[in-house]
């Protein structure tokens, strides 16, 4: 796990019992994890009573270092030995390493989900709605007499801050089912998914 110098310095300060006693250390680590997992950015996250006596600049620096280290660990899918060796290099004693690792275990899967959702992807289909209509006539042609489907795909655009839009198109019954069909092809995709999971 590669960490920058500033992060390493912050972690070394965290390891120092003169600056942070065990209790304050535990609270800070817990706070660091929670601030990553919680949905809202809370500016009062460092306003815990335990932090009153500590220099605010130092507090921020250590919090920053802790969160960076946590994210690196989750990103690399680090196991216990990797984390332990990394922290030990930064002069963490065994107790603090254990505290860190136990809290890491607690929040790990949530953080993984969070990280996996970050990234660019093509617009993502969330839902589909449909409408069946029977076309009788229009201004240019009378006696049309054909059923037709109107399909709306609700698509979420991950790039533009999660804005969702609707993709509308019309479809005849044949196009939906028989020839060159939409549902048939989706079923093919689902079948090959099933086969792939059984491999």
């Amino acid at each position: 796990m590669e960490l920058s110098e500033s992060v390493q310095k912050g972690l070394q300060s965290l390891a120092d019992p003169m600056l942070f006693d065990l209790k304050t250390f535990s609270v800070l680590i817990e706070v660091a994890f929670q601030s990553l997992v919680s949905a809202h950015a809370d500016s009062s996250v460092l306003d815990q009573p335990e932090f009153k006596r500590i220099d605010q600049m130092l507090l921020k620096h250590c919090h920053n270092a802790a969160t960076t280290c946590i994210l690196e660990g989750v990103k690399q899918n680090a196991d216990k030995s990797t984390i332990s060796s990394c922290l030990e290099d930064l002069r963490f004693d065994a107790e603090r390493t254990d505290v860190f690792y136990s809290i890491y275990q607690k929040y790990r899967s949530d953080l993984e989900t969070l990280l996996s959702s970050i990234g660019r992807c093509p617009p993502h289909i969330n839902d589909v709605s449909w409408r069946l209509e029977y076309r009788i006539k229009n201004g240019h042609v009378h006696k049309v007499n054909e059923p037709s489907y109107l399909i709306s795909l609700n698509v979420e655009n991950a790039n533009n801050g999660g804005s969702s839009e609707d993709l509308h198109f019309s479809c005849t019954m044949e196009q939906l089912q028989v020839h060159n069909d939409l549902v048939g092809k989706m079923k093919d995709a689902a079948k090959s998914l099933e086969k792939a999971t059984q491999l």
Partner: protein, 266 residues
């Protein structure tokens, strides 16, 4: 001789316009049109022969159809003339031009060419072709039966042969004309094709060592000849959900309610 012919005989002009009664209130006819018949012949012929019964070598009928509220008494036109064949070729040529114009759009040069060949006015030829185009579009739009079409055309007082010609023109081209007309209707893009691909995301910048199955799809849509393709993505659970929803949509068409409506509205 009918009063019209008498009037014609005394008229020095080289053209005469006959108005035909407007066909309204007749339940058998869904078409409501008034027809103006134009009769043209070259000026030297008019100078020599005032009577159209004994008219000169070449003349032609052009149809002009317009929705005017004018009423007039019925005109009896009897083209008992050896140039019935000429009518037929001229009308069939005009018919061919009319269909071509419906397919590709009008071309004013053709009017001038035809006008020169027939020694007539380009505007007249234009009216004739436009009249035929209107006849074709209105009949195809309403999808009238053969009988109704023949009844509508009967009012022109043409020979049976000419009526048959127009009927054939209508029957041969009505599907195509309806297809062309349907392109005018407002429409949404419609489904053309769907390509799909199964992917597994194994890593990203934010997280290494992932196993994330996704289905990438390319949806091809077509809107009046303009093709577009959208690349979309979904996860397996949503894919199953989409399939279920669309199958429900398809099943809806087979319900008794839908079948009743489809059966009864024809």
């Amino acid at each position: 001789m009918s009063p019209f012919l008498t009037a014609f005989k005394n008229s020095p002009q080289s053209e005469i316009i006959f108005y035909v009664a407007r066909k309204t209130g007749q339940q058998s006819l869904p078409v409501d049109i008034s027809i103006t018949l134009c009769l043209f012949w070259p000026t030297e012929g008019a100078a020599r022969n005032r009577s159209f019964i004994h008219s000169c070598t070449n003349y032609l009928f052009a149809l002009v159809l317009e929705k005017t509220p004018l009423e007039a008494s019925r005109c009896q036109v009897h083209p008992q003339h050896q140039h019935k064949r000429l009518f037929k070729t001229v009308v069939s040529e005009f018919g061919r031009i009319a269909v071509e114009f419906l397919r590709r759009g009008t071309n004013p040069k053709i009017y001038e060419g035809a006008a020169r060949k027939l020694s007539a006015d380009a505007e007249t030829v234009q009216h004739g072709v436009e009249g035929l185009m209107y006849l074709l579009t209105e009949s195809s739009k309403l999808m009238i039966s053969e009988v109704d079409f023949q009844d509508s055309v009967l009012v022109l007082g043409f020979t049976d042969e000419l009526n048959q010609l127009l009927l054939q023109l209508y029957l041969e081209h009505r599907k195509e004309v309806r297809h062309i007309l349907s392109e005018l209707t407002p429409s949404l893009p419609h489904y053309h094709n769907l390509e799909w691909r199964l992917d597994v995301q194994v890593a990203s910048r934010a997280l290494r060592q992932q196993v994330k199955p996704t289905v990438s799809m390319k949806l091809h849509l077509e809107d009046r000849g303009e093709k577009s393709a959208k690349v979309l993505q979904t996860d397996p659970a949503t894919l199953i959900h989409l399939i279920q929803e669309l199958e429900k949509a398809l099943a809806e068409l087979k319900t008794t309610h839908c079948r009743r409506i489809l059966r009864n509205i024809k």
